[in-house]
């Protein structure tokens, strides 16, 4: 049994226009030390999954189907108090936009110490700050900057501080939501490398959320491609990149400029993703699909296994 199992998870938001099903029947599993990349366009539900795993869905959002099992325990049945206990201790999150994840009027080191103390009040402030020093060394931040405010940090330093906070309580699972999107290539490269080293050292499972396929291909062993709330393709990174089966995965790969290989024309995906309110017939990618079949509009395709480590939701794949 895997460390984290997500089984047929569906998540909905109550909106004035009806239930918006942001995530529909998504399943995956991640083992300790493994990393899974979730990719897709904005609005495909990848961040919603991350928030649901953390138990941080907004008030109008809720899990409407399926469950999340961490270490054998079903998280979806837990109450708010029990969830708060597990949050950060078992499962932590590196938020998108590190600049907004830190409190601007509190010294960075103390914010991290506070997170530690909330879960381990018995440590005392001195010991907590000592632990933060260790975390700073771990993520490559100068210990001398412990008592600076967030605005005194550069973008890369803030991102490292947020990673330090995620590591503070030795979590088993880390959800990294676009952790390097706001950063330059060189800083991004450094942080990705460090994250991978830390992951190996502490045997952490990482769920890496990104719209940038090239990052996922560098960092993860497994990839899940999301479209309009559904997992349309999932498998080992090498296999999915070498042999993409779903038309959306193919289109996504064709819309990325690459640094190597011959200079090939990019093919933008025409149109926009569908609205997720109300019942939908057939395949969700049908309207933008370059190779739709007549039957695609009628029957929604199932996620089928095409090899030992490769699943596709397309009848014509």
């Amino acid at each position: 049994m895997a460390l984290l199992e997500v089984n047929h998870l569906s998540i909905g938001y109550q909106t004035p226009k009806g239930l918006l099903k942001a995530v529909d029947d998504v399943s995956f599993a991640v083992d300790a030390g493994q990393s899974l990349g979730l990719v897709g366009e904005s609005g495909c539900g990848k961040t919603t999954i991350g928030m649901a795993l953390m138990g941080l869905l907004p008030p109008n959002g809720s899990i409407v189907g399926g469950n999340v099992v961490l270490d054998g325990q079903d998280l979806s049945g837990l109450g708010e108090d029990a969830l708060r206990q597990r949050r950060w201790r078992d499962i932590a999150m590196i938020f998108q936009a590190a600049m907004n994840a830190l409190n601007p009027v509190q010294r960075v080191g103390e914010q991290i110490a506070e997170a530690i103390l909330t879960h381990k009040p018995e440590l005392g402030r001195e010991e907590a700050l000592r632990q933060v020093e260790g975390l700073y060394q771990l993520v490559g931040l100068p210990v001398g900057r412990l008592h600076d405010y967030p605005h005194q940090y550069s973008g890369g330093m803030k991102q490292r501080a947020v990673i330090a906070m995620a590591l503070a309580l030795n979590p088993k699972v880390i959800i990294a939501d676009e952790p390097t999107t706001a950063l330059d290539v060189i800083v991004q490269d450094q942080i990705l490398k460090e994250t991978r080293e830390l992951q190996k050292e502490f045997n952490i499972a990482i769920i890496f959320i990104s719209h940038d396929i090239s990052i996922v291909s560098e960092v993860c062993e497994m990839i899940g491609v999301m479209y309009a709330g559904q997992m349309v393709e999932r498998g080992a990174v090498g296999e999915v990149f070498r042999n993409p089966r779903h038309p959306y995965t193919k289109a996504l790969l064709n819309s990325f400029p690459a640094l190597g290989g011959p200079r090939r024309p990019l093919k933008p995906i025409p149109g926009e993703p569908p609205l997720l309110i109300g019942h939908r017939f057939g395949c969700r990618f049908c309207d933008r699909c370059p190779v739709p079949a007549a039957s695609c509009k009628l029957e929604p395709p199932e996620l089928v296994q095409v090899s030992e480590t490769h699943f596709v939701r397309c009848d014509n794949a």
Binding site: E41, S42, G155, D184, V185, I186, V187, Q188, D189, Q190, L192, H211, D212, I213, S214, I215, S217, E218, F241, A251, L252, L253, S255, F256, P257, A258, L259, G260, G261, P262, R263, L266, K267, P268, I269, E272
Partner: protein, 361 residues
């Protein structure tokens, strides 16, 4: 109304192809400094060099990539080119005319000829104006066409950037559009007065991959149909490779390397360009992208003042020479430019050759 040279059916008019040697715009030794704010008592702060002696020329109908990290001065450079900032030294020349001294009508004329689109399409459109009003605004301020023709021209331009049916989009407001659609509106607003030069400052860094590819396509179409010179400011070498004819790499306000795009990517000469290539995530056919390991970690100390600006991070640097003598921005045999003592295949420096003159000067 003026023909927008875009025809959906039938033959498109041939793109204007004047001699490629005429630069549309030239930057000659441009420098820009910012004074950081001093202490509580108003003491003068540190002087920060945003741009140092930058010389570039942009040819008619070319897409030129300006690549660098944040803080490298690439955005300052773009803002200078459209008159949003003034240089502290150097000259800005548009179609043979020095523009720093322009006033009144001449300045208005200059502003018509250069346009810019910004990174964040969510902030660059007025939320209270309809798309029609937003896109028509440059026509009104520049008095480019009679009021009766405005709407037709807006619709034609919206169509040209792929927003169709244009009649439908024209009466919407920014919040009703996706990020990709807004960026297209921004392009339409810039292109409606047919500028000679369009500066695109990180036009896709806030967008998803599928929208980015759409914007790239539109920029290529704009160049093809209007013959506009486009300066793409980006931190992505992959995007620059896809779009650009030539690429310049800039680091802390200093030009590092300039050359034909494919050459810069496949055979980078400056260690900083090599470091950027190393750091770019790769997928697909990446087997042939070599690793250069040109970036030093952690940074070394020294090299302040007279030395090379990249000295502290350069794994190739010669400790004495590069820390004391800044390399000259020089032209190599194939016409490309570089600022590195050891860029043209010079053998690795010996233990100490501080006194020897730079090669190829």
């Amino acid at each position: 109304m003026p023909d927008l040279r875009l025809t959906d059916n039938g033959q498109p008019r041939p793109a204007p192809t004047p001699p490629i040697t005429t630069p549309v715009m030239e930057l000659v030794g441009i420098s820009k400094f910012y004074q950081s704010r001093g202490g509580v008592f108003g003491g003068s702060g540190e002087r920060v060099t945003a741009l140092n002696q930058v010389s570039l020329d942009f040819r008619r109908g070319e897409i030129f990539g300006l690549v660098g990290e944040s803080g490298s001065g690439k955005t300052t450079c773009g803002r200078l080119m459209v008159g949003l900032e003034r240089a502290d030294a150097g000259q800005l020349v548009l179609e043979g005319r020095e523009i720093t001294a322009l006033r009144g009508k001449d300045l208005r004329d200059f502003r018509r000829k250069v346009q810019i689109i910004f990174q964040d399409p969510y902030q660059s459109l007025n939320p209270q104006l309809s798309i029609l009003d937003s896109v028509a605004e440059p026509l009104i301020t520049s008095q480019a066409c009679p009021a009766s023709e405005r709407e037709g021209r807006v619709l034609a331009t919206l169509k040209a950037v792929g927003l169709s049916p244009a009649e439908d989009f024209a009466y919407r407001f920014p919040h009703q559009l996706s990020g990709g659609q807004r960026q297209r509106v921004a392009i339409a607003r810039a292109m409606i007065i047919e500028p000679r030069l369009l500066v695109a400052d990180e036009p896709t860094s806030m967008l998803d991959a599928s929208y980015s590819a759409q914007i790239f396509d539109i920029l290529l179409k704009v160049r093809e149909n209007f013959g506009t010179t486009i300066v793409l400011i980006t931190h992505s070498l992959a995007a620059a490779r896809y779009l650009c004819d030539r690429i310049a790499v800039i680091y802390r306000g200093h030009l590092m390397e300039l050359g034909q795009a494919e050459r810069v990517i496949t055979q980078p000469r400056h260690p900083y360009t090599q470091a950027l290539i190393d750091a770019t995530p790769k997928f697909g056919d990446c087997g042939e992208v070599p690793r250069y390991n040109a970036l030093l970690a952690p940074e070394r100390q020294g090299g302040e003042g007279a030395g090379c600006v990249f000295f502290r991070r350069c794994a190739r640097a010669h400790l004495t020479r590069c820390s004391r003598q800044a390399p000259v921005w020089r032209r190599l045999e194939d016409g490309d430019m570089v600022a590195c003592h050891y860029a043209d295949g010079a053998p690795d420096p010996g233990p100490d050759i501080a006194a020897c003159p730079a090669p190829g000067l």
